[in-house]
């Protein structure tokens, strides 16, 4: 499964980078979304993929019985998702404002304006 995930993440990264290399700011935004998904999945995969063993401890037990997925990686990804959303929200509003003022999303044309 790791192999498949690795291919998937590679594709996500490739798509994200390609989109971020475009001149349109909208596409840059799309690239950003793809990139944050790719990064989250990367951490998730590298921490180890385990089926059906969430890091939840049964009632009354002291610790998990018989293996568990890595809770630390999950906590990291959870915050990363929310932060990614924050960055995206900021970028969306920025794009919105920039477009409102400059009337273009071409970053070549934007560069000249202050």
């Amino acid at each position: 499964m790791t192999t498949m995930m690795a291919i998937l993440i590679g594709c996500l990264y490739a798509a994200a980078i390609y989109m971020m290399l475009r001149r349109s700011m909208v596409k840059l935004l799309i690239g950003l979304i793809l990139l944050s998904n790719a990064a989250n999945l990367l951490i998730f995969t590298v921490a180890g993929l385990e089926r059906g063993v969430p890091p939840l401890i049964a009632k009354g037990a002291e610790t998990v019985v018989g293996g568990s997925a890595d809770p630390l990686a999950q906590a990291l990804i959870l915050t990363a998702i929310v932060i990614g959303f924050g960055v995206l929200a900021f970028a969306v509003v920025l794009l919105h404002r920039a477009y409102e003022v400059i009337r273009t999303d071409d970053m070549n044309e934007m560069k000249g304006t202050d």
Binding site: A15, N37, L42, T45, P54, R97, Y99, K111
Partner: protein, 785 residues
């Protein structure tokens, strides 16, 4: 000794406030501290002269072996006494010299900071501490040279001094680190026990340390910054640029002489550069007419002489160096302060306009003459003792004794000229009208030069006084072994005396023909256009244009160019590293894939590809939503319930957000050429491939146990929670989470500010935009009708 240094910095911090409180008496009150410290250091004289250096140490960065350690031996004590002693007079002097200056409080702050830094520098027993104080003197000197910062010339000269000394400082840092590595310790007292001339790092570290010392002590070809530093107020010139800071380089050379000195390179470089500096300095001094300029150039000459003596490295040279250093500090400090008095009380800055002030300023004249006689090396002043020793040291020196002696005698002739200028020109002869009514200054300004000049006389008559208590110990520290020589006023009629007398006569003759001499040598004015200062200016201009060029090329303002460069570098470096791996095993395995996972995989792949090629924003938003939900499913499949839920919710809100701005945004356009697209696609695919390989590599070779078990075990007993992910978020790593919600808050404030707080010119365009939007709406309504 830590307290000594700290007390000065502390006083520096409160000096501006004290000034507000005490007004014009601040200088006198502040001078109490260096005076007290002078007494403290003086009380150490007898112990140190018996050869017991005082060592004190406090751990600073114990992990790096950096200690705040101090050492007081003969050499440090000599400097410490000069710094506190002259500092006391300078503070009194400055209080009156700059009386009523609006920024006097700030001036005291800088001056005291400098004093603290300089003391720290000469007392440090640790190479790193020494370097830190070294740089602090540079910075405070910059502040003081540029004190009149409204004046652009003053700023430019401060900048020049800073650049030259900081570049040297950078070299010095590297050199000191090498020195520490070579000696195996950063403690000076350890370093000095070793002779490092045979070490493999000797040459590079010597070159770097010499660069630092030469720039600081204004050796040719770096001598040009020192006369320019005269833009500072005169008390600063008297203190920093004659008596203390510029001697920091000489101090460093003297300090390190026991470990680094004695080699052929040391001898050659130091005596050659020193002699060259000596001649350049005094020649330029003989041509200048500004009083401070003449003094500055003659200081360059003195620094060259000291360097030359340290290069010789003999017992006599060590003794001569410390004696010359003390004598120079005494008369040069006094003469600088007198130059300030001439400016302050008579408005005279130039020798050509000064004449016949003897009657109007009798006391100043007396002090000036005594100090200048010491400079000229006339018996029975201390300068004479210094000069005799200098000549003796040069004569008994190495294989180049003839050349060095000739240079020294030549320099001495010009020194006599400069001394005669200072002793005769402004005071005797016909009285000229002065810009200000000339009169003697108040005692605060005259006390310093008077005491220094008198000391020059006393030490000349009783040379055993400084010798026994101070100079012998200082020379011992420089030489590394006990010194047998001693100071005396009268050595009998010998070669040095004859040379001294000869230079005196020739110098006076030259004084008689000063103006013709200046005309004769006017040709150097044109030469100086190609001198080191011109080189410095060219270098700075080249640096600026290089910076502009590289900013244009590298920071061109296009995000995608940065990204392209970054990704290309990553691909190349990581790819190269992977190719070099010995065990490059990839674990290709598809057998453990379940059906539902394979379906998700295919869905995701299709989504990604369509998102790249699709040409409609709405379509892409829908695809991104699908992608997000599919990723959430992956999280859920692989035991990350909380992450999955969060992903679903965030994805929902993201789509919502995109839809909100959707209709405002333009249609997708094809902006890049096909060639660009191909290039970008290539880089993107290469990056993706590298990342895929990297993941496979990393997951196949996990060698360390993670720290997950810790959280799994401690969650219930210590966090009282059964959802380990949540316990990590709100308990174990709560500080991280706090930081995260701060970021979210920043996003909220940023977004709010972007839309609601509009400034300046924007409202107009917005109104326009709104208007056009309104018109469009109306048109569309019409169209619908």
């Amino acid at each position: 000794m830590l307290n000594v240094v700290l007390s000065i910095f502390l006083l520096a911090c409160i000096a501006p406030h004290l000034y507000r409180l005490l007004g014009k008496h601040t200088g006198l009150v502040l001078a109490l501290l260096p005076a007290t410290l002078f007494i403290y250091f003086a009380s150490q004289l007898s112990a140190v002269s018996q050869g017991q250096p005082l060592l004190q140490s406090w751990p600073w960065f114990p992990g790096l072996g950096i200690q705040l350690s101090f050492m007081l031996d003969g050499l440090s004590l000599l400097f410490a006494l000069l710094i506190t002693g002259i500092g006391t007079f300078i503070l009194c002097y400055a209080g009156q010299y700059l009386q009523g200056h609006p920024a006097l409080g700030r001036f005291f702050l800088f001056l005291l900071s400098f004093m603290g830094a300089m003391l720290g520098l000469v007392l440090s027993d640790n190479l790193i501490t020494l370097f830190v104080f070294w740089e602090l003197t540079t910075v405070s000197s910059f502040m003081l040279i540029g004190f009149n910062h409204e004046d652009s010339e003053s700023r430019q000269k401060a900048h020049q001094g800073l650049m030259v000394t900081v570049l040297g400082g950078l070299a010095l840092m590297t050199g000191l680190i090498m020195l520490g590595m070579a000696a195996g310790s950063y403690q000076l007292s350890d370093v000095l026990q070793q002779d490092l001339t045979g070490h493999s790092l000797y040459l590079p570290m010597l070159i770097l340390i010499l660069l630092g010392a030469f720039t600081k002590s204004a050796q040719t070809p770096f001598h040009f910054w020192l006369p320019n530093a005269m833009a500072a107020p005169t008390p600063v010139s008297a203190y920093l640029h004659s008596a203390t800071m510029v001697k920091a380089g000489v101090y460093l050379l003297a300090r390190l002489q026991p470990s680094l000195g004695g080699s052929e390179v040391w001898l050659l470089t130091l005596s050659a550069v020193g002699a060259l500096t000596m001649l350049t300095g005094i020649f330029l001094a003989s041509r200048a007419t500004g009083i401070k300029k003449v003094l500055a150039y003659s200081t360059v000459m003195a620094l060259g002489t000291l360097t030359m003596l340290l290069g010789l490295g003999t017992e006599k040279a060590a003794l001569a160096a410390v004696t010359f250093l003390l004598a120079h500090a005494l008369y040069k400090g006094a003469l600088f302060m007198i130059a300030g008095i001439l400016d302050h009380e008579a408005g005279i800055k130039d020798f050509e306009k000064a004449s016949g002030l003897r009657k109007l300023m009798p006391r100043t004249t007396l002090v000036a003459v005594v100090a200048a006689l010491s400079l000229a090396g006339v018996i029975p002043l201390f300068g004479f003792v210094g000069k005799e020793l200098l000549l003796e040291a040069v004569l008994s020196g190495s294989q180049w004794q003839l050349g060095l002696t000739a240079a020294t005698v030549l320099a001495n002739i010009f020194v006599v000229l400069v001394a005669a200028l200072l002793a005769i020109k402004p005071w005797f002869g016909q009285a000229l009208p002065t810009p200000k009514p000339a009169h003697d200054p108040g005692w605060q300004m005259l006390a310093g030069p008077a005491v220094l000049a008198t000391l020059g006389l006393i030490f000349g008559l009783l040379p055993m006084l400084p010798d026994q208590y101070l100079l012998n110990a200082a020379a011992t520290a420089v030489y590394g072994q006990p010194i047998s020589g001693y100071l005396a006023l009268w050595h009998g009629i010998n070669l040095p005396l004859m040379l001294s007398l000869g230079s005196l006569v020739l110098g006076l003759l030259l004084f008689r023909f000063w103006q013709p001499w200046r005309k004769l040598t006017a040709v150097v004015e044109t030469l100086s256009k190609a001198g080191p200062e011109a080189g410095y200016n060219k270098l700075m201009a080249a640096l600026v244009s290089f910076a502009a060029w590289q900013t244009r090329v590298l920071q061109n303002g296009y995000l995608r160019n940065y990204l392209l460069t970054t990704m290309a570098t990553v691909v190349l470096l990581v790819g190269w590293a992977m190719l070099r791996l010995e065990h490059f095993e990839l674990n290709w395995q598809f057998s453990d894939v379940r059906v539902q996972e394979a379906v998700i995989f295919l869905v995701l792949l299709t989504t990604i590809i369509s998102a790249v090629v699709l040409n409609s924003f709405l379509g892409v938003v829908a695809l991104l939503g699908a992608l997000g939900f599919a990723v959430a499913l992956i999280y859920v499949f692989f035991s990350a319930v909380d992450v999955g839920i969060t992903q679903v919710l965030v994805e929902t809100i993201t789509v919502l957000l995109l839809v909100l701005v959707l209709y405002r945004l333009p249609e997708f356009r094809r902006l890049s050429s096909t060639a660009h697209r191909a290039r970008d696609a290539l880089i993107a695919i290469a990056s993706g491939t590298v990342i895929t390989l990297l993941i496979l590599l990393v997951t196949a070779s996990r060698s360390m146990e993670g720290i997950a078990w810790y959280f799994l075990e401690k969650s219930v007993p210590e966090g009282y929670g059964r959802n380990v992910v949540n316990v990590i978020l709100v308990d174990f790593r709560a500080l991280d989470t706090l930081g995260e919600i701060f970021v979210l808050a920043l996003v909220a404030i940023g977004v709010y500010a972007m839309v609601h707080l509009r400034t300046g010119a924007k409202p107009v365009t917005n109104a326009d935009k709104r208007l056009t939007a309104e018109q469009k709406r109306q048109q569309s309504v019409k169209g619908e009708l």
